[in-house]
Symmetry: C2
Subunit: 130 residues, 2 copies
């Protein structure tokens, strides 16, 4: 079964969605992502959907689910690279992606997450007192 | 026609290959990547192939091409996330990916590129003398 790779970039995770998500792939992604957030202690998840030119209610729901799951695990979700047509479709479908931040591209999404990170409060995990 | 998204992350570009590259898609990727390197002045290209469980001589050739093109444009290429089976196949195919750096994951690939970047020699392009 194919899986969507989840890349760890510093404190954040990056997922690039390039293929249509069908049920099992979407479930696998949700599961993998939650496991990765847990394992890495990531504070943010970036979902790049710049490759998607269409989106349906199922995809919208999956993105909402991922955001909800991440936020329970104390990681914020930013959807980046949304094409204008996708934004139109999501609103017309009545899926305003509430609870999900959006940004124009990965760089801005990262900046958004950085800005929202609380100032280092002494709980950084790799602090080895070097 | 579908296209593989190219994400700009700071000074580097990131390409996540999740689908089998067929001729036209591979050509489009080469073209897009060269354009992006030119447009953004990126100093490095990370190609994540962690989603690929098999690789054939065509894929190997495309990766080699991308590396060669990037290097002409003064950007280094790092292939990251290669699965063990893929490494075995590449060697058995006689494609040692010469001229291409490899790293275990995106983070290490970025660290490799950072380490190889010459010390800022005053040629950063966004230097607007603000």
């Amino acid at each position: 079964m194919e899986r969507i790779p989840i890349l760890k970039m510093g404190k954040f995770l990056l997922v690039t969605i390039q293929v249509d998500l069908y049920d099992r792939l979407a479930l696998a992604l949700e599961e993998d992502l939650v496991m990765m957030v847990h394992k890495t202690g990531a504070k943010g998840v970036l979902i790049d959907i710049s490759a998607l030119s269409i989106v349906d209610s199922f995809m919208g729901k999956i993105i909402g689910n991922i955001a909800a799951m991440s936020s329970i695990l104390d990681a914020e979700t930013v959807v980046v690279g949304m094409q204008p047509a996708v934004a139109i479709t999501l609103i017309e479908l009545g899926l305003p992606l509430s609870g999900v931040y959006t940004a124009l591209n990965v760089e801005r999404g990262m900046a958004l997450l950085e800005a929202r990170m609380p100032e280092e409060t002494g709980n950084d995990r790799d602090n080895d007192d070097e």
